[in-house]
């Protein structure tokens, strides 16, 4: 296992795109939170904004910021790691050299599993630092309450990365891959979900792959959306987000399907 993780590390450590994306992710993550804190607002709004930075809400807010960043930076990174091997024909060379097809995919999966672990630790570290300096009275229970979101954050990062690997494996080309990755998530799935599925059956429109992964760490406004549902007629069956449990179950299923497809494609494809 360590051998395969090291193999991917040897490939990626000098890859400019990997370095740039890692650097951008590392600085953007805390900077976005700092920028949000510096917004000038009225007293009432300021109190509301400040509440974002205290335990346990800080992990939800930072998690949501991380949701977007993971979608862009980590997903792109995973996709590039595959298209890079196709563009340089090094996938073929790796196999010629003696790596099995299964090991090739396994090395990518294990490496992103490690990267996602590091990113999750970084997320916990930043969230803890913000929470520590912005919470008037810290209760250990507030931190303990956040532990499930750490796991969901990890699964979310891993989900985006596996989806990135799959798109990379399917299309082989970097430009087309990035376009499809972005277009599917931002437009295709949303279009089908909100434009078509919602017209047929609203209750089940959130169970799509990327939406499930995204809802692992959603914008923390569930209580407010529940309030809206209770006040507006005809909104009872409308659900804005999957519950945490639903998101975990469906994301896990989709990730398993993506991984199955990765092995299926590489097994059958001529290189």
């Amino acid at each position: 296992m360590g051998h395969l993780i090291k193999l991917e590390w040897l490939k990626m450590k000098n890859y400019t795109a990997f370095r740039v994306l890692s650097f951008l992710f590392a600085i953007t993550f805390p900077l976005l939170l700092i920028a949000g804190k510096r917004i000038e607002a009225g007293d009432q709004a300021q109190t509301f904004i400040d509440s974002f930075y205290s335990f346990p809400t800080v992990f939800e807010i930072l998690g949501y910021v991380g949701n977007w960043l993971a979608f862009f930076f980590l997903g792109f990174m995973a996709l590039l790691s595959v298209t890079n091997d196709y563009a340089n024909r090094t996938l073929r060379q790796n196999i010629i050299t003696g790596l099995s097809r299964k090991e090739f995919i396994l090395s990518k999966l294990l490496f992103i599993a490690v990267v996602c672990g590091v990113v999750t630790l970084y997320y916990i570290l930043i969230g803890s630092a913000f929470g520590f300096f912005n919470t008037a009275k810290i209760y250990p229970s507030d931190f303990a309450e956040s532990i499930p979101i750490f796991g969901r954050f990890y699964l979310m990062c891993f989900g985006y990365c596996v989806f990135g690997l799959l798109i990379g494996m399917l299309v082989k080309k970097t430009g087309l891959g990035l376009f499809l990755y972005f277009a599917y998530t931002m437009f295709v799935e949303r279009g089908i979900r909100l434009g078509l599925h919602s017209q047929i059956h609203r209750g089940s429109m959130n169970y799509y792959p990327l939406n499930s992964i995204s809802d692992l760490v959603p914008l923390p406004i569930q209580d407010k959306t529940d309030m809206i549902k209770g006040q507006v007629d005809g909104m009872e069956e409308l659900s804005f987000f999957l519950t945490s449990t639903e998101a975990v179950i469906f994301s896990t299923i989709y990730i398993a399907i993506f991984i199955f497809l990765l092995f299926f494609i590489i097994k059958r494809r001529d290189l």
Binding site: H3, K6, L7, L10, K11, N14, Y15, T16, N84, N88, R89, T90, R92, Q93, N94, I95, I96, T97, G98, L99, R268, D270, L271
Partner: protein
């Protein structure tokens, strides 16, 4: 002992049959040339035996399956173009290969010396010339000291100096006793480097055997004499004659390369035969190759 056996491999791409029921045996220690024009199925054949391309039918086995088909350290390969990570140095790329093969990196410096790239080992691959890239590909194939090397068009696209350098390296490698399977469309290359050859065209095997027996340097002779039958009888006792044709009072045939026209004149004179016309022409390998592949 067979190092690689190919048994009836067929590979189709749609309606095109790239490899057609190909059978080959490559024994340990041979420098085996896979010779054929562009698009004859050489690279597809190599792709199949390396597990990169799935054959529609047929089988292959390495080293009589003594180690299963785990080829990690036993086979080193260059397939078509040299494929390395462009942003990594030669050293880093070779270390990556050693990592995949799970072998040590201590021989890398010696291998870089052999391919004359030691002085550029810390330069990125994308700064290399084509000749240097090809030499690095040879270095990559030698990592782990494999006993079998597959070289697909190893001098493709190189300038004359690059070709000569790569050939020299291949000869050095061959001298160390490794088995080499070299695909090429260049006859001269196969003749200079290989001990055995298989000629393929449109994926079909046309001829296989020792280079000397397949691509022989025979002499083509055209003769007119007052007694052709007696002359042929005399020649047949001394030389190996093949492809005999008669055209009017002219006879055409091929004869061993050690034949000399002076000797034939002497022989005819001693036996009372008068030669009125004699034309000898050395058959080039190209002609030989074209004849084998013609209309097949």
């Amino acid at each position: 002992m067979p190092a690689l056996q190919i048994n009836g491999i067929t590979k189709r791409y749609g309606r095109i049959t790239a490899v057609n029921d190909l059978h080959l045996n490559i024994n340990k220690g041979e420098i085996f040339g896979l010779l054929g024009p562009n698009g004859s199925g050489k690279t597809t054949t190599l792709g199949v035996v390396l597990g990169l391309i799935k054959a529609d039918s047929g089988t292959y086995s390495w080293f009589e399956n003594e180690n299963g088909n785990n080829l990690n350290t036993k086979v080193g390969t260059i397939l078509e173009t040299p494929n390395f990570y462009p942003y990594m140095t030669a050293m880093e790329n070779l270390q990556l290969i050693a990592h995949i093969k799970k072998v040590g990196t201590e021989n890398i410096d010696a291998i870089l010396e052999l391919v004359d790239l030691a002085h550029r080992k810390n330069s990125r691959f994308n700064t290399y010339s084509l000749g240097m890239k090809q030499r690095l590909a040879l270095a990559g194939a030698l990592i782990g000291d494999p006993e079998f090397l597959i070289l697909d068009e190893p001098t493709n696209g190189l300038d004359p100096q690059g070709i000569s350098e790569v050939r020299e390296i291949i000869k050095k490698i061959a001298d160390s006793g490794k088995t080499i399977l070299m695909a090429s469309h260049i006859l001269d290359e196969v003749e200079k480097v290989c001990t055995h050859v298989a000629i393929i065209k449109k994926g079909k095997l046309l001829a296989t055997g020792e280079v000397g027996s397949i691509l022989s340097d025979q002499i083509q002779v055209e003769l007119i004499s007052d007694n052709n039958a007696k002359l042929l009888e005399l020649l047949d006792k001394k030389y190996k004659i093949s492809e005999l044709q008669k055209s009017g009072d002219k006879i055409l045939f091929k004869i061993d390369a050690n034949f000399s026209s002076g000797e034939l004149n002497k022989l005819a004179f001693e036996n009372g035969v008068t030669i009125s016309h004699m034309l000898t022409k050395k058959t080039s390998l190209e002609q030989e190759f074209l004849e084998i592949t013609k209309n097949k």
